[in-house]
């Protein structure tokens, strides 16, 4: 029986659940955590990004069988780090979202970036965020908001 934690709550997945079920659909269809989005199912767009043990992961390509026992999964609903909060504040201050569908994934990727690097350069941002597609192309503001959040963290 797979046991892991989602937003600090213990999740116990029975054997009847197919082992190839992607974490994304456990989150969305079983746990009613719909912040992580389905966009491509192939880890190409990043809309499904969550953290597993602090690292950004594409939950659409994370089968249950690969989630380690005791792993800590964090979704946008449970994002409580100071980096996460600073990013969400910056996202609102700069009105980053347009349609908004990709933004949970954008913020989760950005939170992982800021957790290891408070002052990312443009190249750092490109590297960390190029896996997250935004079809509204809010990229200019995503970049600015990451830098703004970094500033707020060191203020």
């Amino acid at each position: 029986m797979a046991i892991f934690y989602v937003n600090q709550e213990r999740v116990d997945v029975g054997k009847s659940v197919p082992a190839d079920t992607p974490l994304l659909w456990i989150l969305r269809d079983s746990l009613n955590l719909t912040g992580a989005k389905y966009g491509c199912g192939m880890a190409l767009c990043g809309a499904c990004t969550v953290h597993i043990d602090g690292q950004p992961a594409r939950s659409c390509q994370t089968p249950l069988s690969s989630v380690k026992q005791g792993a800590e999964v964090t979704t946008i609903e449970g994002l409580a780090t100071k980096e996460g909060k600073a990013l969400q504040a910056a996202w609102q201050a700069l009105d980053v979202p347009q349609c908004g569908y990709c933004q949970s994934g954008q913020i989760m990727s950005a939170a992982a970036l800021l957790a290891r690097n408070k002052h990312p350069t443009d190249a750092d941002i490109d590297e960390a965020m190029a896996g997250n597609i935004c079809r509204c192309a809010t990229y200019v503001r995503i970049r600015a908001a990451i830098k703004e959040a970094g500033k707020r963290l060191s203020a």
């Binding site: 979202p97 569908y101 503001r141």
Partner: protein, 730 residues
């Protein structure tokens, strides 16, 4: 309620959950009502709300709820329309919230679309500008009347500011006055503010949806939870138009959690307790398609047919003077042909729709871009009257035109499944995978253009002939009768037939072949291709005449003040004419410009490109000038220009659906590449000052970017690119 508290069996620091029960038996967890907030307000204050018209309600708890008739799909209408109400009402922005309107053409028709209710053509703000201001002004007048009566003063002695009604030392909130205000007659034509008194319009207000969209709480169709909801995934034909010959569902039906496998007109639907079960089962379906019924050609066949047609005159869309004769006698003649591929919209949220069918009622949950069209289409499928179809409006995870489908394709598919399973009252959520979405057709049509022009001895344009070949997006739709005039689909030639340049002898003609690839509007519609061919060809003429591209355009636009305003503004802000900083060794840098009007908004963009030694290139910076009349929400105008540039650049660099054996050769973002953050240029947006009525900004940022990039590449390399997407290597 904690959404994770499914089945607590431990009271420790952490709650113990059993996801297995939910997955296996399809238990529905934490029932989510998409209108919960609004309904809670109504329930708490029955009958006490002040609703002077269809566009706002004021509750005793002081919330002002603005009902927005257009879908929020990123363009900012859930902020722009409430700003109009809040300004005339003198509400505080913090007391304003938004509700999406269902289908009700009598109250919520798009005033630019006759009787239809829908969102498109960048009309949301433009058609609502006076309507929503009047709604706010009427409510304000009634609040003032109520306060004047209560305080026994004249209405002139009442002031309203930031949601507070006052007179001398007396003060009241809107909520406190709501019940009394509701008793006053609704003024038919309330006085509107003098623009100098605007508090939000022209200044701006924060987006109403930024918080929900930054915290994962915004509800899209994909997120709808309803009691006993089932998820449907459909096996579609590999070829456009192919029908099911027969199918074997025996393996699919054995997958635990599968409830129904049914045939519908568009394929075979697998209906299960959750998405992964439905998709797993779909993969085990055996479907044989009747190949005789499907489209059976490829992109090369289509292009060959377009070229054959382009050799013959088409249906005239514009004919000034005698273009052929003028070109014949010109000192120099130029000719160029352009190829445009099919384009997928590829919104982040693949198409989806939730339908709950009962005996005398059908509910639809959708990011609904064409309420009345979809309502009628669903009614026809399920055998109800349109008014028995209730639409619940949700956020749309992008659209770019796709969710205003003239055939209501995915909405009808969802309704067909609900009807076919025959289980009344059970909601069905249709979910398309990315592959379903990309292969479903309804693309921006492929086009082929041929342009010819002459230059006289002084380098002036002498004659312009523009022939356009491509599918009509209106053919076969309910819009065809009303919009196609004299055989010309205006959306195929917009931007070309409306060429702004002063050229006496000008002809535009059109061939609209019928091809079995489904097509529809795509952000900025005809201008997606006409801006490219006209603006690169004008640039080519300027170069041939030995003139500066800005000066050349300026002379031809002498009577087009809106175009000139953005051309001059973009050129000035970009430092046009001044040298660009050099690139690294082996790199070439250059600027290019394009100007184009769409949906009554003029946009000019100056692009800076760097071409590397290996012929790859990057777009470094875009300076954009926009004239959209009065900019109601300037920051949103900037956001839409930024996004439009990114969306257009994505198509310019990578966008192509190629048709192979009657279907799409592309299926996901690995083979339908889109722009990523590392490819996004820096963007400076400048808004031309204007006091004219506002015009739209959702689409007009798109058309100029591709020709501006191509013109910059030509300036850097001398190479004129006439095949999209752009490549210097082929």
């Amino acid at each position: 309620m904690n959404p994770l508290r499914i089945e607590p069996v431990s009271t420790g620091r952490r709650t113990f959950l059993k996801a297995s029960a939910a997955l296996g038996a399809g238990l529905t967890l934490a029932i989510f009502d998409v209108d919960a907030d609004a309904q809670a307000t109504k329930a708490a204050n029955p009958g006490a709300e002040f609703a002077p018209n269809a566009f706002l309600r004021i509750a005793p708890d002081n919330w002002v709820t603005v009902i927005v008739k257009h879908v929020e799909l990123g363009q900012g209408t859930y902020t722009g329309l409430p700003m109009l109400v809040a300004d005339e009402l003198d509400a505080s922005w913090s007391q304003v919230r938004v509700e999406g309107a269902g289908a009700d053409a009598k109250r919520y028709a798009n005033l630019f679309w006759g009787g239809a209710q829908g969102t498109g053509d960048s009309t949301a703000l433009a058609n609502s500008f006076e309507q929503y201001r009047q709604a706010g002004a009427a409510a304000r007048a009634m609040l003032v009347a109520a306060a004047a009566e209560r305080w026994k003063v004249s209405p002139e002695a009442i002031a309203v500011k930031s949601g507070v009604v006052s007179s001398g030392g007396r003060k009241a909130t809107f909520g406190e006055l709501a019940a009394a205000a509701a008793k006053w007659p609704v003024p038919a034509s309330p006085a509107l503010k003098d623009p100098k008194d605007f508090v939000y319009i022209g200044k701006g207000a924060p987006r109403t949806d930024s918080k929900a969209k930054s915290t994962g709480t915004a509800t899209y169709t994909q997120d709808v939870k309803l009691p006993d909801v089932l998820t449907a995934v459909v096996a579609h034909a590999p070829r456009f138009g192919a029908k099911v010959k027969h199918f074997d569902a025996s393996a699919a039906e054995k997958v635990p959690g599968v409830r129904y496998v049914v045939q519908i007109p568009s394929g075979i639907a697998v209906v299960a307790t959750n998405f992964w079960t439905a998709k797993t089962a779909r993969d085990q379906l055996k479907v044989e398609w009747n190949e005789d019924t499907g489209f059976n050609y490829s992109s090369a066949d289509i292009l060959a047919e377009f070229k054959r047609l382009a050799a013959k005159p088409g249906t005239i869309a514009r004919n000034d003077g005698d273009a052929a004769a003028a070109i014949d006698k010109a000192a120099r003649k130029l000719e160029a042909a352009y190829e445009f591929p099919y384009l997928a919209h590829a919104a982040m949220e693949p198409m989806n729709c939730v339908v709950r069918l009962d005996a005398d009622r059908c509910e639809v949950w959708n990011g609904e871009q064409f309420q009345t069209g979809d309502q009628a289409a669903v009614a026809a499928v399920v055998g109800l009257k349109p008014e028995q179809v209730v639409i619940h409006q949700l956020f749309a995870g992008g659209s770019f035109g796709r969710r205003a489908n003239p055939q209501s394709d995915y909405v009808v598919e969802a309704a067909s499944i609900a009807k076919e399973i025959g289980k009344r009252g059970v909601p069905v959520k249709l979910v398309w995978t990315r592959e379903d979405d990309m292969r479903a057709g309804y693309y921006r049509p492929a086009y082929y253009h041929v342009l010819r022009a002459g230059l006289d001895a002084q380098g002036n344009v002498a004659g312009w002939q523009h022939r356009i070949v491509g599918q009509s997006i209106l053919a076969g739709t309910l819009f065809e009768a009303a919009m196609v005039k004299n055989g010309v689909d205006p959306t195929s030639v917009e931007g070309a037939a409306s060429l702004p340049y002063a050229i006496a002898d000008l002809q535009v003609d059109l061939h609209s072949p019928q091809i079995g690839v489904p097509v529809q509007g795509w952000r900025s519609v005809g201008s997606t291709h006409t801006a490219y061919s006209t603006e690169t060809f004008v640039d080519e003429l300027a170069a041939a005449a030995g003139k500066d591209p800005v000066e050349f355009r300026r002379l031809l636009l002498a009577n087009k003040p809106k175009h000139l305003s953005v051309l001059d503004l973009a050129a000035a802000k970009a430092g046009w004419g001044q040298p660009l900083p050099a690139g690294k060794a082996g790199e070439k840098r250059a600027r290019g410009i394009a100007v184009h009007e769409s949906f009554n908004t003029a946009v000019a963009q100056v692009v800076e490109v760097t071409v590397r030694a290996d012929n790859t290139f990057r777009v470094d910076r875009v300076v954009c000038a926009v004239n959209c009349g009065l900019a109601v929400n300037p920051d949103n105008v900037r956001a839409q220009m930024e996004g439009g540039i990114g969306y257009g650049l994505s198509a310019a660099l990578y966008g192509a659906i190629t048709i192979k054996d009657g279907g799409s050769a592309q299926s996901n973002f690995h083979d339908y590449r889109v722009l990523r953050i590392n490819e996004m240029p820096a963007i400076d947006v400048h808004i031309a000052p204007s006091t004219d009525k506002p015009t739209g900004v959702g689409e007009p940022g798109v058309p100029p970017i591709a020709p501006a990039v191509a013109n910059a590449l030509a300036a850097a390399t001398g190479k004129r690119l006439r095949v999209l997407p752009l490549s210097l290597s082929t």
